[in-house]
């Protein structure tokens, strides 16, 4: 069995699961969880291609993962802070509760 194929399958599934969570969960925090999953899927891909790809002295894949993690952490922090703000206003974390863009 091709290990890269396994890895890619795993990341595809993780990505799909994350997307599913984003599209269906109603708790905003859990939407965030879905986003984290998708990011992780991307990271897995980078690792996989680095591990089983041609040798790369520049280590592009791992570097990307490193920055990706940093950005993800930032994004989570800001996201959660926003959610807390919204929660203070509406006493709810239901994503559908904030629909002031309603046409």
């Amino acid at each position: 069995m091709n290990p890269l194929a396994v890895l890619l399958t795993l990341s595809s599934v993780l990505f799909a699961l994350g997307l599913f969570a984003v599209l269906t969960r109603r708790n905003t925090i859990l939407v965030l969880v879905g986003i984290e999953l998708m990011l992780n899927a991307a990271n897995l891909n980078f690792i996989g291609f680095w591990r089983y790809g041609p040798p790369d002295p520049q280590l592009t894949g791992p570097m990307f993962v490193l920055f990706g993690i940093a950005i993800a952490a930032a994004e989570a922090a800001v996201g959660l802070a926003i959610i807390l703000m919204v929660f203070r206003h509406t006493r709810s974390t239901d994503l559908n509760a904030s629909n002031s863009l309603h046409g």
Binding site: M1, N2, P3, L4, A5, L8, T9, L10, S12, V13, F15, A16, G18, L19, F20, A21, L23, T24, R25, R26, I29, L30, L32, V33, E36, L37, N40, N43, L44, I47, G48, W50, R51, Y52, G53, P55, P57, Q58, L59, P62, M63, V65, L66, F67, I69, A70, A72, A73, A76, A77, V78, L80, A81, I83, L84, M85, F87, R88, R91, T93
Partner: protein, 163 residues
């Protein structure tokens, strides 16, 4: 290869749980599990440094943050919350499944024979690269994180009582 075959199903299961579990706290904890398993996978693949970073940042910070946030925003009515399973599953699946199918199909069809691997990730090299080639990016990220810290602190601050 072995570790990969063992960990992959576990990760998938944990992720599925994180997505499907009704109780938000459970979902959060399962996310932490998924991430830590992914970290182990990194280590198994030879990227020890990345694995450790994954543990520290994702499991140690992000997941914990999410769980805390869930605990803070816990509504008074637990029962109603439990009833809030994922909604609109149909459209969700309708979006997700073609994507998954496409991805898997692509992986299956286009991947060549297993290429030879390199399992070497020297930490010293990462350090060098970070502070030479990627120094501007590091700076940018540093600024971003500082801004995030300040911003998050501002957002999360208890609003003043003054009107």
């Amino acid at each position: 290869m072995t570790a990969l075959l063992i960990l992959s199903p576990l990760i998938m299961l944990a992720a599925l749980g994180a997505v499907w579990k009704a109780r938000p706290v459970h979902a959060g904890l399962l996310l932490a599990l998924t991430l830590s398993l992914a970290g182990m996978l990194y280590i198994a693949l030879g990227a020890e440094f990345l694995g450790l970073v994954q543990f520290m940042v994702y499991v140690g910070a992000v997941a914990v943050l999410i769980v805390f946030a869930l605990l803070i925003t816990r509504p008074r009515d637990e029962i109603e919350e439990i009833a809030r399973r994922p909604k609109s599953v149909g459209p969700g699946l309708l979006c997700t499944l073609p994507l998954l199918a496409t991805l898997l199909y692509t992986v299956d069809r286009t991947l060549p024979e297993a290429p030879p691997g390199t399992a070497d990730l020297p930490v010293r090299r990462i350090g060098e690269l970070l502070f030479t080639t990627h120094a501007p990016a590091v700076l940018a990220v540093a600024i971003l994180l500082t801004a995030v810290m300040l911003g998050a602190a501002l957002f999360a601050r208890e609003p003043s009582k003054k009107p």
